[in-house]
Amino acid sequence: MKLQPVANPLDAAVFAGRAASGLSVLVHPIPGRRSVFAAFGTNFGSIDRVSGANGEPVPEGLAHFLEHKLFEDAAGDVTDRFAALGASTNAMTGFCGTTYIASTVEQPEASVDLLLDFVQDPYFTDELVAKEQGIIAQEIGMYDDDPDWRVFFELLTSLYAKHPVRDNIAGSVASIAEIDAATLRRCYDLFYHPSNMALVVSGDVQPERIAALVDADQSARGTDALPAHERLLEDEPRARVRERSELRLPVARPRLLLGVKETVLGGSPQELGRRRLATQVAIDLLFGRSTDTYRALYEDGLIDESFSASYSSEHSFGFSMIGGETDEPERLEARVREVLERARTGDFDTDGLKRTRARLTGGLLRASDSAESVSYGLLSAHFRGVAPFSALDWIQQLSADELRARLAEHLDPEALSVCVLRPEEP
């Protein structure tokens, strides 16, 4: 495999290539850096729930369960082998992907080798699956006690009727009880094929040595053909499920979270990327710390440091989320709705757009000090099918008119929902 340089406007080039097996490789050399960080990701997350070819569904929480189970094989817990190399390891499952990481200062190549090994050598037994069900049930319980997590997912169930983004990433105690070793194996074979995966290595490493290491690993395994499958999604209505919902938990402070479901989906990776950036910038120009809206809400005591406004989108789903802790959820909701409605009809101050360009550049420069941040960014760009650092080009092209048009289509009143979390009554 020959890695090719990819221009990096922030620093030295990144190197990218693809092994004969289909595994993509990206290397970000940082001379002089002590630690080496590697991220091995698969394009399989909690929303990938239906594989069409054999008609068998993927159970809720399966991607996360797989993530847990890969850490154990016939020889025991792989964490101990990383520790013996002076490395640490971890993993995380999101809506769209699962990522396994290794971080080390002393034996980077051996650590990358072990990372490749354990993710690609699954070992599933029903006995180990049963043990893991208890551990994951505890993890689900932990998130159930997190008020912010609960509000976030409650709101997603108000926005989405069928799309699996509405379901908890770890699944439910009932759904994980249905998972067995055979189901894990079937889903592993579908979604952990090298052509569906990518490895990113960042640190003081030589790209050609990482390429050679990956080539040796992949050629030793041989590659089966990717089983025929299709990721199907049920038709999701354009409108939200319900306009509002309410939760009660043992908390001291109420919370308000207002969500807007994205109704414009799909398109090429570049179209999706530009749309994502334009919406993120527009939402920030509406509610960011430099806006009069933020100042007024803060001065009126309706928000505090916990307030945030963000936008996320992928190919099949997207949403804005606005809110935080507040003692007056109704007043805050009314004020946020007022801002959104004005923005939808074009009453929207875009003076901050020029500053946003400097902000994005500065933020990316500081983030590029972190091998972890760069690695996750490269992995995300790869799976989204866009060139790394594209946002720096796109931000220069964004116009005020484009932002207005974007908000006009995004802020559909029928796509808006609110969740209020209140303290339990004594």
Binding site: Q138, P250, A358, L360
Partner: protein
């Protein structure tokens, strides 16, 4: 290559400068860390960082200050209040980008100017803070103090430490009490600000690609003609003589119970790195004894771990559990501690822990914020202040050091926040 290290320099007006000159990062951090007593006035001081972050004389409100930060390439304001033993630490700083990465815009100088205004030139009216701003921040502090209980895991740990270290500074929160926060007024807050900007000991941390002239400039701006006291010496570890275990239980409507256990570590064994090694072997990672026994063997918890807090002589164990299983988990934790004390630590286990801690120390060199935190902690506690010194301490830890800690530690307090299933 030897690690680049902080240098201590004498700044103007008693300001101590901690300088880490390095071209390894694009980020530059300028942070003033003021050290005050954790006394009855701490609520007033706790309010100051947030109050100052609302604006400066030149950028008098949140919106204009936010816009200025965006113009300065997303310069981030740092404004925190924390506690270290009997000391309250107030941090005001900026995190920005070195000039050479933004086309030689004088960004560091502009960020330093903004920081100096933030500390010394708030938007006063007739020499007073804007009354509405003080009132809003007072209400925010009261709400934040109430909101602390919403993170149930942290609540369990805080409750445990308050019991374990009752009547010592380690029992107190840096933000003070609800009652004190409710009574704050403009005068008390202004007095607190005056003390912070002119009198209390302070260190100026500068990390990144900066010139000598830039260091001198930011030091002059932040000293602002004041004369400060020198930072205080490290404090002794609190002692407790009673051997009775203090137990507390609270029931809430939770999916998971939160267990916190506090063990008192023998003070004579606390210098050096042995306590960190003990905590690492006991419950510091996925290779540790508690993780293997409580999570992997018995599936009782998603996480069960330990951490050493040597400044207060504490070994903290915490776990999130299925309701009704706390007694069993407490028994397992006790058994593992006894096994370590009785049978000692295996060589392989010791080296695994040493390697893990060594990796964390070396990896921290790649993060300017962590470098600052490590240095500050060392200066406050009398522990290692350089990576090399910390590595030497780590290399010197023996199996018998760890076994002695396991034998010498005593369970002091247990706090259980029990979930709904029981």
């Amino acid at each position: 290559m030897p690690p680049e290290e902080f240098q201590t320099l004498a700044g103007p007006g008693g300001l101590e400068i901690q300088l880490l000159p390095t071209r390894a990062f694009k980020t530059v951090i300028l942070a003033l860390v003021v050290e005050a007593p954790l006394d009855e006035q701490r609520s007033a001081r706790a309010l100051v960082p947030d109050l100052l972050s609302r604006g400066t004389a030149s950028f008098p409100d949140l919106a204009s200050l936010g816009a200025r930060c965006e113009e300065l390439f997303d310069t981030e304001l740092l404004a925190t209040c924390s506690a270290a033993g009997g000391r309250q630490l107030l941090k005001l700083g900026v995190e920005t980008v070195a000039d050479r990465w933004v086309g030689d815009v004088p960004l560091v100088a502009q960020a330093a100017e903004l920081l100096a205004e933030l500390v010394h030139a708030p938007p006063l009216v007739d020499g007073r803070f804007v009354p509405e701003h003080v009132e809003q921040e007072r209400v925010n502090l009261v709400r934040a103090l109430r909101g602390l209980d919403d993170d149930k895991g942290s609540y369990a740990v805080r409750s445990l430490l308050a019991t374990m270290h009752a009547d010592t500074p380690w029992a107190h929160h840096a933000w003070g009490t609800l009652e004190a926060a409710q009574q704050l007024d403009e005068v008390s807050v202004r007095d607190a600000w005056t003390g912070l900007r002119t009198a209390f000991p302070a260190r100026l941390f500068i990390a990144g690609d900066v010139s000598e002239a830039q260091v001198a400039d930011v030091a002059e701006r932040l000293a602002a003609g004041a004369t400060r006291e020198a930072p205080s010496a490290p404090e002794p570890v609190p002692q407790r003589t009673s051997s009775e275990v203090q137990r507390q239980r609270e029931d809430q409507d939770l999916a998971q119970s939160k267990l916190a256990m506090g063990w008192r570590l023998p003070s004579e064994l606390l210098p050096g790195a042995a306590a960190g090694m003990f905590a690492e072997i006991f419950g510091g990672s996925a290779s540790s004894r508690l993780f293997k026994r409580v999570r992997e063997q018995e599936s009782l918890a998603y996480g069960c771990g330990s951490v050493a807090l040597p400044d207060s002589g504490t070994l903290l164990v915490q776990a999130g559990l299925e309701p009704g299983t706390a007694e069993r988990v407490e028994q397992l934790v006790g058994e593992e501690r006894e096994r370590l004390a009785r049978d000692g630590v295996r060589d392989a286990e010791l080296e695994l822990a040493r390697t893990a801690l060594r990796r964390r120390l070396l990896a921290s060199q790649d993060r300017p914020g962590e470098r600052l935190h490590f240095r500050l902690r060392g200066l406050l506690t009398g522990r290692a202040t350089t990576i090399d010194a910390a590595l030497e301490q780590l290399a010197a830890v023996t199996a018998s050091d760890v076994t002695e800690l396991a034998r010498g530690c005593a369970l002091d307090s247990v706090f259980l926040l029990e979930g709904r299933a029981s």
